[in-house]
Amino acid sequence: MIQIPTNTTLLREILAAFIRNEVEKTGLKRVVVGLSGGVDSALSAMLAAEALGPQDVLAVLMPYKSSNPDSQRHAEMVARKSGIESMLVEITPQIDAYFEKFPDADARRRGNKMARERMTILYDHSMRWDALVLGTSNKTELLLGYGTLHGDMASAINPLGDLYKTQVWALAAAIGVPSEIVEKEPSADLWTGQTDEGELGFTYREVDKLLYLMVDQRYTRSELIAAGFPERFVDDVSKRIMNSQFKRRLPVIAKVSQRTIDRDFRYSRDWGK
């Protein structure tokens, strides 16, 4: 039985300290987070409320007309429960205005556009409110590339990026995210009826075990197959990781000088902080 360790007590303490520390050292004290109604953003928001106090967390709800009404209800539930102030910014007018010009755009283009629209709103309010944008992408979706570059993947700091979805569920339950949210089927809610697992073709619980052994424990392909994972599943997931590497890196810069940003000009982000 493959068990991904999930020490919720310790994770909670560490992640709250991370948020506090990384926010304070920028000279700010607040964060803005997009609340989708899903478990990831609910957990991020509640961790931030715990770390900074609810008064220093702003939740922005950004539904589109086709969003599941449950999503908004769940987001409001989280804001109420954690005492965070929330604001509603519907994105329907600008999204529809844009796609009037490109009526043949498919669901994926529309979904990406919505994710990026939400990102610009979060960054705008982070500026207005002197706050950092808090990330909500978990390790599973970051590794699989299951997110929109410069959209939901964009943030200043991300407390969930090293937690698999399975760990997110456990921690969310421990911190008090309402069970209705923890237990519902994960969905990016970019079009009606969309589910993550339907789109990916496997369940998070299955792929998390594979990723944990492959990434964290450095199992080789043959070791993973010997551990009982179907060959095609191992190869499919490996390919997804490889093909989405670009989403986890800065844009590629053509090197011409002696000292190129991020190649031989190397500084930590917390430089001077």
Partner: protein, 321 residues
């Protein structure tokens, strides 16, 4: 009550000493800010009647320095070092900083300041350069391991990863150290189930205790806290006596300042009960090490391939039940 310094000639062990550890979170690459933290902690140490204060690894500069290394580096004749010397008149201490040699190599160094002077410099020998670590890209490697005489008795400095190589503490113990002071910048990693701290903390606490007992000396372990680029440092600084007892323990994951009275008679008592160091056969060790060093290299890489046995898969052992 600590015994006032000065009364003891080098090499003579005082009865006791009050060790303090400043578990701090320095600003990355901001020397003036970190110098201010040093001054504040030295004052705190003086107020609490500490006699020797340990600061964590690279705590005057921050840890994830990368290209900041050359700008954060200090020559031993720099004004900053002069200032640290002056501060040591109030309280002797170990600083963690980047030392630049005359030929412009940069070392991850621990410097012992006592009564207005630099008494010892240890340059980190084992620079981790794997996984999340990149030290050897930026630092030159130290090439000596020496215990040294302080006015409190003979001590040794080993920096973080140095201690993961048992040869370093073996040498320190044989070189007469009664206490090993270890400035550390140990990151938290590996959150595992059923434990109040991460896996790295568990490992460190295990070796600190094992080394203290095995080599019958005091382990004074000073780790930092705070975050740099999302990497947290687990704190948990501690002082362990030769019987494996924790005399001081700092908080995990947060700033702290701990202090403990260390009685050197404990070393004597432990070494009387278990004279392991007395029985250590240095010649035997040296002879065997020389033999190992002279071991002939494989004739060719091809021969090496032929000789290699196919390792058993670790999966076969673990299975997936």
């Amino acid at each position: 009550m600590g015994i006032s310094c000065g009364r003891f000639a080098y090499g003579v062990n005082p009865v006791s000493i009050r060790f303090a550890i400043a578990q701090i979170s320095p600003k990355l690459g901001d020397l003036p800010a970190n110098m201010a933290i040093y001054e504040e902690k030295i004052r705190q140490g003086v107020e609490q009647k500490a006699e020797l204060l340990l600061f964590p690894e690279l705590s005057l500069t921050g840890y994830l320095l990368r290209d900041i290394v050359p700008t954060a580096a200090l020559r031993l004749n720099s004004p900053e070092i002069e200032k640290l010397k002056r501060l040591s008149r109030e309280l002797p201490f170990v600083a963690g900083l980047v030392e630049e040699s005359a030929d412009h190599r940069f070392f991850n160094a621990a410097v012992y300041f006592e009564d207005g002077d630099v008494r010892h410099v240890h340059r980190k020998v084992y620079l981790p350069t794997y996984g999340m670590f990149d030290e050897q890209r930026y630092f030159a490697r130290g090439d000596r391991l020496r215990a040294f005489d302080s006015k409190f008795g003979r001590l040794a400095l080993l920096i973080c990863e140095d201690l993961w190589h048992p040869s370093t503490i073996y040498l320190a113990a044989l070189d007469g150290a009664l206490a090993v002071l270890c400035p550390s910048a140990s990151p938290l990693r590996g959150v595992i189930d059923n434990q109040a701290q991460d896996d790295n903390a568990r490992y460190w606490e295990m070796i600190n205790q094992a080394y203290a007992e095995t080599f019958s000396l005091f382990m004074v372990y000073g780790n930092r806290c705070g975050f740099e680029d999302g990497v947290g440092f687990w704190g948990g600084s501690e002082i362990v006596d030769p019987f494996g007892q924790r005399l001081a323990k700092a908080k995990y994951y947060d700033q702290d300042f701990v202090i403990a009275e260390v009685g050197f008679e404990t070393v004597r008592r432990k070494r009387t009960m278990s004279p392991l160091l007395r029985d250590e056969d240095i010649d035997l060790t040296i002879n065997e090490l020389l033999r190992i060093r002279e071991r002939p290299a494989p004739q060719s890489s091809l021969q090496e391939v032929k000789d290699a046995k196919v390792p058993k898969s670790r999966v076969a052992k673990r299975g997936r039940g």
